[in-house]
Amino acid sequence: MKVLVPIKRVVDYNVKVRAKSDGTGVDLANVKMAINPFCEIAIEEAVRLKEAGSVEEVVAVSVGTTASQEQLRTALALGADRAILVETEVEVDSLGVAKLLKAVAEKESPDIIILGKQAIDNDSNQTGQMLSALLGYSQGTFASEVSLKDSSLEVIREVDGGLQTVHLTLPAIVTTDLRLNEPRYASLPNIMKAKKKQMDTLTPDELSVDVKPRVNILKVSPPPERAAGIKVESVEELVDKLKNEAKVIS
């Protein structure tokens, strides 16, 4: 069985990003980059399936510039067997990424594709669902537990107000939520080994996919600022302020 894990290079989650002062985008100069946290969870889940003996090969794939090789190497150090970079200078939107991944999936014929539920840069939460629709695969989004049973998956999903369990016929797409697992750290020997693992490069042209964006970003601006508040000295003062000043309790 083969698992494909698409990953994304994003700003490290600890970085507080700011809009550029001219409103043309987000200031990413000299900012630390990393694998999107949900994608790390996806790699971990795939590697665990392999360690459990039910999966033979884990293939990591990313869409981006040559810089994304760094994140693919990390994926290899975390346990992926080989990597594919779909190299493009274009900032491809979710539908474009889904089409590229579809083309890769048609070459690779994976049984399961595991993706992060959302990337923490655009917060779109789209690619897995789009890919599933394009491929006609079954879909288990926001997974907190995945069990492989012969030719099917049982996925417990985080939904508003609780948990939902679905049964998916393979091939299937899973998108990860926070509680699915706790990703490991790459060990130094594994980082060294990862340097020798195979990494192939493809282009959107080779995959015959048009990646022209369908959405124009007209402006990026800072959110409205909240006016500075005050510190209260006691619970009593707090209750008084809430009752008589803010008037939000009675």
Binding site: Y13, K16, V17, R18, A19, V26, F38, S94, L95, A98, Q118, I120, D121, N122, D123, N125, Q126, G128, Q129, M130, S132, A133, Y137, S138, Q139, G140, T141, F142, V159, D160, G161, G162, Q164, T165, V166, L168, T169, L178, R179, R214, V215, N216, L218, K219, V220, S221, P222, P223, R226, G229, I230, K231, V232, V235, L238, V239, L242, A246, V248, I249
Partner: protein, 309 residues
């Protein structure tokens, strides 16, 4: 301009998030249809018919849509939606589950989680956990959009008598099955609909200490939330999570207890009208967004607060 809104419901009741989404739709244009798809859900359609200003309600009743499996609903909505200029759904876990499929099947982009409408093809949406607001223009003929419900008021659900049209459409992808759902039953209001929310963070130290929030929540009619740190630490279940990857709330009063205020948490609550922070670390970033900050040990402050309310 004709707009299709997908109703959120549980086959019995219409969910509030639908009403915020209808408001967004009516900001875009006048001709708004509402799709109610499910099983034995005609009473949902009757409830929705009270909304004033809707053009009509489309009711699709079939076992295929009982559990809102994304594969089937995606096919249904892309089929019905192909003749509309806009398709809108609330950005709930259900809306997020099927709407990108609709967009992909129609070969158009999806705009996620809009917080404001600039004009019929241009929207504002938060990115980077709300650290930036992007104004985006969709170039595709059909705009597939999910709506951040805190960005729009709920429309009124009274006085209307909208026509309900029954449609029979069977879309069966046959690749997935619903097994079960465990929804936490609670007497408290839903997090996203509550007027008051009180949330605990890592400072609560364990799940049991979340009981300290119960008495206060009871007195204020509040929903109880949590930060990602509290969820990651296993104190409470994930459906209580407020933040970038959890629920987005904007109540009249938000009380953050033992929450440091990571940007991922602020992303989910900073549009609240009044924010109160209780934290023993006076340097905690949560105080930068709080209207009222109390530097105190929560284990002293919470019982006292409960007593004084």
């Amino acid at each position: 301009m004709s707009i299709l809104v997908i109703a959120e419901h549980d086959n019995n009741d219409l969910k509030e998030a639908t009403l915020n989404t209808v408001t967004a739709a009516m900001e875009i244009g006048q001709e708004v249809d509402l799709l109610v798809a499910g099983l034995n859900c005609s009473q949902v359609a009757r409830e929705a018919a009270l909304i004033q200003g809707l053009n009509k309600i489309l009711l699709v009743d079939s076992t295929l849509y009982e559990n809102f499996l994304a594969e089937n609903i995606g096919l249904l909505v892309s089929d019905i939606g192909k003749d509309y200029s806009h398709i809108l759904a609330p950005a709930t876990s259900n809306g997020k589950n099927f709407m990108p499929r609709v967009a992909a099947l129609l070969d158009v982009a999806q705009i996620s989680d809009i917080s404001a409408i600039v004009n019929s093809d241009t929207f504002e949406r938060p990115i980077y956990a709300g650290n930036c607001i992007a104004t985006v223009q969709c170039l595709d003929p059909i705009k597939v959009v999910t709506v951040r419900t805190t960005g729009f008021d709920a429309c009124l659900k009274e006085g209307g008598s909208v026509e309900v049209e029954n449609i029979t459409l069977e879309h069966d992808a046959s690749v997935s099955k619903f097994i079960k759902e465990e929804i936490v039953k609670s007497d408290r209001p839903e997090l996203t609909a509550a007027d008051v929310v009180i949330s605990g963070g890592r400072g609560m130290q364990n799940g049991e200490n979340f009981n300290l929030l119960n008495g206060i929540a009871d007195k204020l009619g509040a929903a109880i939330g949590a930060s990602r740190a509290a969820v990651d630490s296993g104190f409470v279940p994930n459906d209580m999570q407020v933040g970038q990857t959890g629920k987005i709330v904007a109540p009249d009063l938000y009380i953050a207890v033992g929450i440091s205020g990571a940007i991922q948490h602020l992303a989910g609550m900073k549009d609240s009208k009044v924010i109160v922070a209780i934290n023993k670390d006076e340097e905690a970033p949560i105080f930068e967004v709080a209207d009222y900050g109390l530097v105190a040990d929560l284990f002293d402050a919470l019982p006292e607060l409960e007593a004084k309310l």
